[in-house]
Structure formats: C-alpha cells, structure tokens
Symmetry: C2
Subunit: 649 residues, 2 copies
C-alpha cells in the first residue's frame, strides 16, 4: 500500500495541478489579472458547491437555523454604527518615488524575517533553500549579514507581537530599524490608515454613500426583530447566511488565502446572556480537541493543550457551553469535508486582539505551507451589535421573556413634571427629557444624590449644552415594582467561516504523490465533497462497449451520483491519473466481460484497489461510501476483489 | 372543491402575506430602507435555494454544463471592451429645485398614461378605481381633462413605442408635451445619460477603477480558452454561472421586479456558427408555446401565435435549432417551478431594441399585475463577445476543428520583405506590418489592386500616420493552400435568468384565497420548490403525543424531507392556515389514534383533502409527490381517505 507521506509535499506541484485542472485561476487573466481576485473553474466550483451543501445540512438543517439572504450593498450609516467605517482598517506605507504601497505590518514582518535569515546564513546555519530563494527574490536589499545577538532577540520579540502594533508603533519600528522599499531601498512615508471596504454610490444622485459588505453579519442583526417574530418569539435561535463579502486588501498575495472577494458562511446564534447553556452540549462534550489558549500564548509558547470540549468548558478555558458546542460542531464539519485532524487547532484570541465587546473568541486554524491559517472564527460578541443598532435607530431589538415567578425590582425612576418642563426648556425640552430618561441606574443614583444635596441637576446635554434642572421639575427615586416579563438584549455567538481559505487548506491536506512516480499526484478529497464522484471509462472505443456507457450513465443519473465519462483514446492509466488530480474517488471500467455478463470494475482512487460486481451492486456501494460514510472495505465487502497488472499504466 | 379564481387577485393581500411571513423585506428597514434593495427571509431564502437547485439539475447536470464562479468586482477595461461603459445607461431628468431625479422614459410613460386616464374620466368612461387612485397619488398635477381625439391617438402611439426612444427624443417629448415634475409641476432639466453600473476603486492606490458586474456573462467569456481546454477541446459546450449582479437603477419601484442587486443564472452555450443544429432538439420539437414574434408587434398587434417549437424553427421564425432548444427548455423549467402556462409567452425583440450584434433574441415574459414582465432572455449573441475581448487582449479565443476532408482555399496573403522593412520604417516597422497583416480579404483585394496600379500602398496606420509602402517591400497575391483544420470564433447562445423576477411572478401565479373566507390565502407553490415540505402538527400538547413528534421528525430527517414542527397552542386550523400562506404543501397530524396504532393523517394544502396511513407509507407518498412528480391522487391511492368536519376551523 502506498504511503501518502513518502513524497515530500510541494506547493509548486499542487499549484500546477490546481491550475492545470482549472480548480481556480486568476480572474481577468487575459487582461493581465487583478491581484486578490480569483475565478473558480468547474471542479473548484463543484467542490465549493458541495462544501456549501454540507455546511447547510450540518448547521442549518441539523439545528433548524433561519437562513437569510441579505444584500451586499450596504449604506454608510449601518457600517458607521457597526464600527467598520472607523475600525475596519489596515496601515499602509507609500514609496513616494515608485508609487508602490505596502501593508505596514506585513512589510516589517517580511524585512525582519529576511534579515534574520541573512543572519542565519552568515552564521553558517542552515536556511531552507526555498525560503532563502524567496527571501532573496522579495527583499533584494538584504545580504547575508550577521546581526548582534541582542538585535536577533529584539527582532524575534517584535515578530511574535506583530499582530498587536498600532499604526504609529509600526511607523516607529520602520524608522528604528531603517526599513525601506525591499525592492529598491527607497524611503517610505509614515504609515497611514486605509479603510478596507470598497465604497460606491447608491442611486443616481451620488449622495447616498454605500459599501460592499465586509461580512454577512450586519444583514442578520438588522433583521433580528423579524427573525424573532418568525421564530414565534422562541429563544435561543440562530440565523445563518452564505454569501460573498469583500475586503480591499492592500497588497494581496498568498493565492486563495488573501483575496478581495470571498465566500463566507456565518451563523448568528442569539442567546439569553443569563443562560448560555446548550441543550445538545452533552452530545459533543467528550470530543477531544487541540487548543492554544491565551495563557499559553502569553507565556511565549505555542504548545497545544489537548482536552475534551467538556473539560475546556467546565474549567472555564472556553467561556460557555454554547461557544463550546459550536467549537465542537465546527471541528466535526471541518473533518467531514477533508481537513486533517492533526493540522487543526483552536487558538484563543489574546485580550488585545479581541474586539473590546467580545467576551471570548476562538479561531479554528489550519496548518498549511503558509503556516497556521485562521479559517473559522467563533466569537461571543455579547450584546454589542444589537445594542448599537438599536441605539442608533431607536428600534427595540430585545426579547421579552415571561418570568416563571413574577419578581420585585427596586430601581431608580425619573419622574418629570411635563407641565413645567415645556415652558422652562422650550425647544430643548425633548432633548433634556431624553437625556434624563436614558441614564443608567448608576448615573441615576448620582443624579438623585445631586438633587438631594444641591436641589438641582447640572448636566451637559448633547446638542443643547449646559442646563440646570431644578428639583421642582424632576424627581429621581427608587420605586418598587413587580415584573412579569424580563426584557433583554440577546448575546450573539458567531461562528464565521471563510470558505476559500478552508478550500485551499483542504487542497494542501489532500495532496500527495504516488511513491512509485512523484509526477502522479492525487487529491484525496472525501467522496462526499469531491466535485465528481465517478469516472466512467470504457476500455476502448470498440462499438460493443458504446451502448454500455449509456446504460451506466443513466443508472448513475437515476441514483443522483455526479459522474463524468472519459471515452478519449488515452490509456486507462492516463485517464485515471487525470481524475486522481481532479479528486474523483471512483472509477467504473467497462470491458469485454461487461458485454458478456454485465459486470463492471470499481476502482478506488487512493489505494487503486479494484473490485468487480454487477452494475446495481457497484452503484449501491458508491452511494453508501459517498453519502452514508461507509468505509471502502465495508462498502465493497460483498464484491469480488479484482486484480490487473496493467491497470495503472 | 374550492376554485382558485373565485376571489379576485389582490396585490395588496399578496404583499401583506409575503411581508407577514417574511418571504422578503426591504433591506435596512430599521434604518429607513434603501430603495431597490431587499433581503430574503427564511421562506424566501428557502424558495430561492430550491429554485437554484432545480435550475442546476435541469440545466447544468442534465446537459453536462461547466459551472464557474467568477468575481463580481470587474476592472474598467473589461467592461469598456464589452460595451457596458458606453452603453449600459438610462436617461435621467433632474428637477433642479427639489433635486429629484426621474428616469426619463418612465416619466413620460407615467404622465401620458395619467393624462389618458384623466381624459377617460372626463369623457365619463370607466377607469378602474385602483388605477385612478394610484394615478392621482403619483401624478398630482393631472386633473380630469378631456383631450382632443388626435392628442389621444398621439399619446397612445408614443406609449406603444416608449422603449425605442433615444435620450434626445425623450427630451423633445418632454418639451413638446410640457411634462414636469408630477408631484410639484416643477420644470425639469433635459435628459442626461446615467451609467447603471456601480463603480469602485480596487486596491489602495485608487488608480484601478472597477465596477460591480452588470451580468455574469463576461466572467464566462474571459475563461473561454480554459473551459474549452477543460472540455478536451470538444464543441459545442456550455458554461453556466449563478450569482449576484448589480444595476444602479435610477428610481426603482415595483418591488422585486426592479432591484439594484439581484441573483442571475446564465448559460453561455458555445456553438459552431456554421452548425447551430442541436442533437436533442427532437426531444422538445413538439412542445407547443405561445409566441409574440416581431412582425406581429410591428403590425401594432399583441395577439399570440401558438405553435410547436419545431414549427417555429422550421419556418424560420426562431433563428436556429439551438436557440429553439433552449426556448423549450426554459419553458419546461418555468412550468416545473410553478409558472402558470397560460401566463407565459415568448416575445421576440424588435430590430431596434436588439443589440447590433445579436442575430435573434426572445424573452420569456410572465404576466403579473404589473403587466408582462421580462424574466428570461434567450439571445444569439453571435461571435461578438469573444471577438471584442480577443481583439483587445490579443489572446486567441477560437476553436480549431479538424476538417473531415482537407480543403483548398485561395486567399490573398501578404508577403513582407522584412530585411528591407526594418531599415525603411525603423521603430514603426512593427505597426506597419501589423496594419498590413490585419486586413480582411476585401481590403487585401483593394490593396493588391492599388499595388498593381500605382506601384505602392498609401495607408493611414494607427499610431504612425500616413505611410507609403513601395511594391518592392511587399507582395499581396492570391495563394492556394490546403487546410486540414478550420479555425473559428464560436457563436454564443445565451439563456439568462433573472431569478428575483421569476420568484415574484410565481408568487402572483400561486396566490389565491379560499372562497369560503377571503382572508384565508394560500400560496400554491409546487412541492418541489416549496421552502418547507411538511408541517408536523400534534393535535394537542398532551404528554402522550410529544414522543411521537420526535419519531416523525427523525423519519422525515432520514428521508431528507424538509419539515417544520408547530406545537404551539393555536388551533389545528390556524396552524394550517399559517402554513398555507407559507406554501407548505403537506401537513402531518398526530392524534390519539396515532398513540394507539401509529397511523397519522396527511393533509394536502390546496384541496385540504386528507388521507390516513402508517408513518412509512405517508412519508413514501410525500417523497413521491414532492420529488418524483407523482400526482396527489396517484401518490395516495393506497392510503385511506379521511374526513373531519372540524379540521379547518
């Protein structure tokens, strides 16, 4: 049996196969291409469609989620409120002479890494040849120069924290380490902020500014009230969306891993902040996963912690059951579609990389030749999104939940004497009223004290200015009330999938070459998601075989098994080799015995093992292995092993 | 049995149902909405997903098309070449005082129609009350004024040709008929052209201008060479794409029929221009369709011509077999997903509305309360797209087809004396050479004559200017050669589907109210595409029934039949009424007999008929009716009819 690891992985070889078989290609290639934009060809498109279909079944159908399809065009106000207008940015540096633009953090990273490699080489230590070539190509200015030990340590420390620097800090590093345009040595301008959203104008007036959405999440939040109603006011529930999002990367490289237009699948699970348990957590609690928690990272280590998700939640490493449940479900999904379990970890966000409102966040990272790549985020976004949209629009985005037992609350309440308020504040009466009624319990406590102490409230009211409210116009006192309903803003647990990154990682995890011939490569995609399930191969173009092709294809079509026919004049071996590269898991061969007794041969891609049987039994085996998760051995146990020495030539 | 036409169709009632059940809603509604942008809620999203799935099976799988997924972001150069930068425009007029902007043709149409209605009213003729209300609301300036007979005739003639006017012609009409802002009577600026593409800048420099694609077609054309290679150079073949496209409408109304972001499904079928026969045409040739050919329209009539597609092609009314084949397949698809066959016609484009390069074009139009709506275009685009992209990029986008018989051709050829050409033209030698070798056969014939007559060629060479090429530097003569391969640019037949328009039309075609209670409306979506297939309804919340719900849902999940459970306390009749509005075709009721013998009741949405049987038999019937196209009568023939007088209360 062939070992998949016998021939070392080669990214170049994989890229050639993906290009040759048109899994994907640079978009607009005949026009010279546009970096960060890719088209999927037929096998890539089929693979993607199968992954989307599996996602839908695994998450939406299994959990009865509410799928929505919301627009990509998004008006300015929505993304201003969500924080994207102000914070969805990267820092860029410009070389004024050549006009080239660099992403500041990537530039610092690239140059310091190149210097460290130059240092290694100068010390006579081994540098991987490929790494060295790449470095010399990208960063021309760097020669093999030995650095002082303290400098090496400093560079390494900077690189470990590279995701955490602000723009001005990156500017300081660029100055301090004299970082220039790596190709020309030219001087760079200090970093400036660049918003990563594509903007456009909606409508003919040019007055309504809009963006292409950077995520599908906002469209789901804005429909929260309608979704809750659709769900008969039942909580918790989740919405889900699958669709394209956009990110105007400063200088995208790294193929499918960093693109400007990409397919996302996002879930927004709305949950009671006081109860983040999950009814189905018991089903997954024993699943063992590899974690990289924040305390390990903060100690400068990247040693993985392996434990069950149940233990991770019970020890508080993962914040709550619902978050833990989704982490486990994400893992199950990734394995199902072809991710290598040994190259999948969950990394916790550090406090400084997490959004201020998030209470916990874990990324599913997949290991590739580019390093560990963030492919799925799973964050507890708290009540942030619903709260800001609600505050901006004055729409109530809350859940009203009947209490099992009525409860008594004792809160500060504001009682305004409207008759006196109008004449006193005139046109500002509304604003002053709103200011007072919008206060939190803590603020009301302070105001009540001020009122008691000074007989008035002094306040700086937005859009009005400094006002004084005398005690005879307002009372602020504790009032006891009985509540039958609890009103709350749900928290949101958000699993968010970048499908292109997952797809590329699976390509790497599935790719290997046959030890007997390293030019014969195989893409071992799981049958469930492989673009084509069966290749139908007539042994020759003999007239006796032709009618059998029609018989087999109609049986496959009826069984809804996607197939292709290759009746070209190439040898059987060559036709199979082509389809090994396409990831086609099964081959059905028609030969002259088929004419006699109707039997056909079934070949398995990875092992090249063959079995023989009637067409019905073979189709049954293919369906069971592809869709019911049955193994090859089990699925073909009733068929006859078949051997041929010439098959793979 | 209830008649679906007994209660007259009401668009208001339909809109209320679609809104109440969250089929779709204005996007960003809590921010006040943005016209022309809509979100699909769970049932709309499910309905759309099922239509896309059916489309994929009906076209892509059945015909072995090559599906691609190309980017929406498209650089300027591509759309400049395709003609969209210059020609994808509408004419708009601005009211300088209010800033309001009107689409010029719609404005003329609206105002003249309003005047004609005012005239009708003044003559004491009947004007539909709703029409009249709408007119008075939209066009405030119009009173009921009698017009001269000649004016009425003129207005009617203008309205019949409204799609054919140029911008300046619309400007003339606005002046001639004194058309003003309908709301204020304010004066309007003359019409100016407005490009309907959303533009943006790709990358951080702001230098690379891009657009959101107005159609998915261009991405397919640009990948032609890769697709042909993927198809092992076999012709004919088709590519297909499903994805969002964008159109910055000037002032979109009419709900889902005129939106700024929409889902398209497009096929580009590449065919030999010398052979547009289709191998499967015989399968559809007897299908009878309703046509509105151009000669009928040009004679001022809209009487439909009913004939088979075979006859339409053989008489030359439809240009060729491939175009005819797709027209038939489009019809079959539309009927399968719920279009009323009596409200579907194929209208041929008039010569002046068809793109100059198209050789024939037919729209599938569906009748709605807004009139006949173009929902699918089916055009023969000739070799236009591949030719212009090839000319612009210098990439060969051709097919090379081995000839059955070698053939002799006798063409003019250019023979340049390169040794003398260089010294004579120096830096321009390349441009002059290209100019000569790029000439057509006709042009070469003229040049050969000029050379023979004058001993030189005088030519205006692009980027060079006027040059003279003496006879000793170039020969242009007829040469006889034997060709073994024919090289040609394929023609393209393009079926192009606007899914949102189809979806809205099906809503209208499927909507009716029960005669016994006009507030009980039903959406008779075909089971195949209905968002949910089965509603599971326990008769009461009695503890004996609860475990049975789990049993039934797991049977349905195993059979992959999408279902919902409604265990709310509402009456059975109310729960069914809710799901009649959601288009759910079947209901399974659990009652106390289920506890005894495991039998359940199956209810059909349109007839409210019920049958009873074992769970297995009921699920089998649901699957057969939903996915295998079996009728209710046939599918339930072995089950026991079941009657209850209280069910629908």
């Amino acid at each position: 049996m062939s070992s998949k690891a016998a021939v070392p992985f080669s990214r170049d070889a994989l890229e050639q196969v993906l290009k040759r078989r048109f899994f994907f290609a640079p978009a607009f290639e005949i026009y010279g291409g546009v970096s960060g934009l890719y088209d999927y060809g037929p096998p890539g498109c089929g693979f993607q469609a199968n992954i989307v279909d599996t996602w839908r079944k695994h998450f939406i159908l299994e959990e009865d989620m509410l799928e929505v399809d919301t627009t990509m065009l998004t008006p300015y106000e929505v993304l201003k409120t969500s924080g994207h207008v102000d914070k969805f940015t990267d820092w860029m540096c410009k070389d004024l002479k050549t006009g080239e633009i660099f992403r500041a953090d990537h530039l610092v990273e690239e140059v310091l890494e190149a210097r460290l490699k130059g240092d290694k080489a100068a010390r006579g230590q081994q540098v991987e040849e490929k790494d060295d070539k790449k470095r010399k190509k990208k960063v021309k200015e760097i020669k093999n120069v030995k650095l002082e030990d303290a400098v090496v340590a400093e560079y390494e420390s900077v690189l470990n924290q590279i995701d955490g620097f602000s723009g001005p800090e990156l500017g300081d590093l660029i100055t301090k380490y004299d970082i220039t345009n790596p190709a020309t040595g030219g001087k760079l301008e200090p970093p400036v902020e660049f918003n990563l959203m594509f903007d456009t104008a909606i409508g003919p007036s040019g007055q309504l500014k809009g963006y292409l959405r950077p995520e599908t999440a906002q469209g789901q939040f804005l429909n929260f009230a309608k979704l809750l109603e659709f769900n008969n006011e039942k909580m918790p529930f989740a919405s889900a969306a699958i669709g394209k999002s956009f990110r105007n990367e400063i200088s995208p490289r790294a193929g499918l891993l960093r693109v400007r237009e990409f397919l996302m699948a996002e879930i927004e699970h709305f949950v009671d902040p006081e109860d983040k348990s999950h009814p189905r957590f018991a089903e997954v609690k024993d699943l063992k996963l590899k974690f990289l928690p924040k305390d390990v990272q903060e100690a400068g280590s990247n040693t993985l912690v392996e434990k069950s998700i149940g233990e991770a939640v019970s020890t508080g490493m993962v914040d709550n059951e619902t978050l833990g449940y989704f982490i486990a479900r994400i893992y199950q999904f990734l394995i199902k579609i072809g991710v290598d379990p040994n190259r999948c970890r969950f990394r916790q966000h550090l406090s400084n990389e997490m959004a201020h409102y998030a209470s916990d966040c874990w990324d599913a990272e997949l290991e590739t030749s580019y390093g560990w790549v963030e492919c799925v985020g799973c964050a507890d976004r708290s009540a942030y999104d619903l709260s800001v949209h609600s505050a901006r629009t004055n729409e109530k985005l809350v859940v009203r939940k009947p209490l099992d037992q009525p409860r008594t609350v004792n809160n500060f309440e504001v009682d305004i004497d409207k008759k006196k308020f109008g004449p006193k504040f005139r046109k500002d009466a509304g604003a002053v009223t709103k200011f007072l009624t919008d206060r939190t319990q803590c603020e009301l406590e302070d105001l009540a004290k001020e009122l008691a102490d000074t007989g008035k409230i002094s306040a700086d009211v937005p859009n009005v200015g400094q006002v004084e409210v005398p005690a005879e116009l307002v009372k602020i006192e504790r009032v006891e009330r009985t509540e039958h309903v609890r009103e709350f803003t749900p928290n949101v647990i958000e699993p968010s999938f970048g499908l292109g990154r997952i797809i590329y990682s699976i390509f790497e995890h599935s790719f290997w070459a046959r030890p007997e011939d390293k030019d014969r490569s195989v893409l071992s995609l799981p049958p469930l998601v492989a673009p084509t399930k069966v290749l139908v191969v007539p042994l020759s173009s003999h007239a006796d075989l032709t009618p059998l092709v029609g018989k087999i294809t109609s049986a496959l079509r009826k069984a809804q098994v996607p197939f292709k026919v290759d009746d070209s004049s190439a040898s059987i071996g060559k036709r199979y080799a082509r389809n090994d590269e396409l990831g086609t898991p099964f081959g059905i061969t028609i030969d002259f015995d088929t004419v006699k007794d109707g039997s056909v041969t079934l070949r398995e891609r990875d092992s090249t093992k063959q079995v023989r049987g009637s067409l019905d039994d073979i189709v049954k085996a293919v369906k069971a292995i592809t869709y019911d998760g049955v193994s090859w051995t089990e699925g073909t146990s009733l068929l006859t092993p078949f051997e041929t020495v010439t098959e793979e030539k």
